[in-house]
């Protein structure tokens, strides 16, 4: 599958706005290091996958992270908060070009670009990861949730590692 999936049905401005806001809240939670909030953007059986572009373009897997339940995301949060050691850093996300289409059966597809600038412990910033999000969003009690979020880094050589979800 490439990045040129065909467009589905049109959506109302209100739906588009709510789904854009979902992405912005997602970005802010991660930028603010509110990691416990991260799984809450997903359904219980939601999927979060980081699929580097090199592999996606070649029809290979090679996922950096592959979660197919919210419980796996809770484990990821516990591990990066309490267990894993990694570089001291701050991430700052920009999400743009969000386009939402109606895939039917209450599922919306949102495609967007993301870029993450990472600042190290010395206060120096550099582009860390640039790529695309391909999201499946559904509304539960009028709240949008990710049924699936696939992160496709163009930056498929990452320096040095991924701790906080992209």
């Amino acid at each position: 599958m490439t990045l040129t999936e065909s467009a589905g049905g049109r959506v109302t401005a209100e739906i588009a706005e709510q789904i854009a806001a979902l992405n912005y809240r997602y970005a802010q939670a991660l930028d603010d290091r509110r990691l416990d909030d991260w799984p809450e953007f997903f359904l219980d059986d939601g999927r979060y996958i980081i699929h580097p572009r090199e592999n996606r373009d070649r029809g290979l897997e090679g996922y950096w992270i592959y979660c197919d339940s919210k419980r796996m995301m809770l484990d990821r949060v516990l591990s990066i908060k309490e267990v894993n050691l990694y570089n001291i850093h701050y991430n700052r996300r920009a999400i743009s070009n969000i386009l939402v289409t109606d895939a039917g059966d209450g599922v919306y597809i949102a495609r967007s670009n993301y870029s993450i600038v990472q600042t190290n412990s010395g206060g120096r910033s550099a582009i860390f990861s640039v790529g695309a999000y391909v999201d499946q969003v559904v509304f539960i009690d009028e709240e949008p949730k990710f049924q699936e979020k696939i992160v496709i880094p163009d930056t498929f050589t990452v320096s040095p590692l991924v701790a906080i979800p992209l």
Binding site: E54, Y66, D75, L85
Partner: protein, 406 residues
């Protein structure tokens, strides 16, 4: 004692490229399954030299240096693909699947003007080739005529373990790449370092997986600069290998909400749960529970290397086995629960070496001062073995400061 200068010195790095990577060593180029059809190619590097692995029309696999014989431009730009001929974009010199020169524009000149001299001989302008040997589908290449045959170079422990893990047909499932601001040798040491596994990688102990007290071994065999590290589950338990949780030797601090990440199925009769095999200079074959992969250490300069993870599964895996390997993929790679610390530890080391201007030295004596095979994992002896081989091939006498011996 390892002088820190060997990790940061450009002259030593250059010498390593010449004496090690262009010297009498076998280097991982790829797996046959990555180039299944005639004309298929992938690009890689040996040391810092760009190399193309290409399957020819008759099915033979070739490897050649990716640098035009005319003016030195890189000929093949794609990471992989299929082609009848490789054409340099600069002046359109073209090469066949073995790197042989097959096309030179205006060779005879135009309307009697120009052209190459009468004695121009295309055979003298082919791309430099590597000598290849294939073992269990894994293609290794060498630049040196004096490199011993591959199986002699490997020695018994590596040959047996690669046989065990790679004799079934495999399929590459994906690539993962990390650029780490550290010297390439730091990663070689890291994958020979039994000491850090349970200490740096807290996921092991916090979730009750691996500990240094687990049964294991560190074997080098005939050649101390290679190594095979192995850990086993609890041999007599019926639960061996069913689940890494079952091999826990202590009470974990945390429990996973979703244990599918560590749902491990038994693959080896002897309860082997981990293999980390390292072949000098930069090839790793690792089996961590059911996660399988090659790793290639690509030096980029004294201060940087690229770590390439080449994950694979067996062609005859059942879907549930593929799924288990996919889930366990969360343990390894750039975001791996068991691996992310390595990049940070290595970068911290590299920074500190510079802080000392390369003065000072590392101290590596856990498990003793010799180079014997070890039947436990409380040891750094495989790292000592690496440095023994390194000094021999670099022409450094043990005890040299390295930085001054060139």
């Amino acid at each position: 004692m390892i002088p820190y200068g060997v990790y940061i010195d450009q002259d030593i790095f250059d010498l390593e490229m010449e004496r090690i990577f262009r010297g009498p060593t076998w280097n991982y180029l790829g797996h046959e399954s990555e180039v299944p059809e005639p004309g298929d190619f992938v690009t890689t590097t040996v040391g810092t030299t760009p190399v193309v692995l290409n399957r020819g029309r008759d099915g033979t696999i070739h490897a050649f240096v990716n640098r035009c014989a005319h003016r030195g431009a890189m000929v093949v730009r794609e990471s992989h693909g299929n082609t009848k001929v490789h054409t340099c974009i600069y002046h359109q010199w073209s090469y066949d699947h073995a790197g042989g020169l097959v096309g030179v524009p205006y060779r005879k000149g135009v309307h009697g003007n120009g052209g190459f001299p009468e004695d121009f001989e295309p055979k003298e302008h082919c791309l430099e080739t590597l000598r290849l040997e294939v073992f269990n589908g894994i293609v290794f290449g060498t630049f040196s005529d004096s490199t011993p045959p591959l199986l002699d170079y490997m020695g018994t422990p590596l040959r047996e373990r690669i046989d065990m893990l790679c004799s079934r047909p495999i399929k590459v499932t994906g690539y993962q790449r990390q650029e780490i601001r550290g010297n390439w040798k730091l990663y070689v040491e890291n994958v020979k370092d039994c000491y850090h596994g349970s200490l740096l990688h807290s996921f092991n102990s916090c979730f009750g997986m691996f500990r240094s007290t687990q049964r294991g071994s560190a074997v080098m065999g005939e050649h101390a600069y290679h190594s095979v590290l192995t850990t086993y589950g609890v041999a007599d338990s019926e639960n061996v290998g069913e689940n890494l949780g079952a091999v826990a030797t202590h009470k974990p601090k945390f429990e996973l909400e979703d244990s599918s990440v560590v749902d491990v199925f038994r693959e080896h009769a002897d309860g082997m749960v981990t293999t980390i095999l390292t072949m000098f200079p930069g090839f790793v074959l690792a089996q961590i529970a059911n996660h399988l992969g090659f790793r290639l250490i690509r030096p980029l300069g004294p201060d940087t290397f690229e770590l390439v993870w080449i994950n694979f599964e067996y062609l005859d895996d059942e879907p549930w086995q593929s799924e288990a390997r996919r889930k366990q993929g969360n343990l390894l790679g750039p975001a791996g629960y068991l691996s992310m610390e390595d990049a940070e530890a290595l970068e911290l080391a590299q920074q500190a070496f510079h802080g000392e201007q390369g003065s000072g030295h590392a101290f590596i004596e856990l498990g003793g001062r010799e180079f014997e095979d070890q039947d436990h994992l409380v040891t750094e002896v495989p790292i000592r073995g690496f440095w023994k081989g390194y000094c021999e091939i670099m022409g450094f006498a043990a005890g040299d400061s390295g930085a001054t011996s060139t």
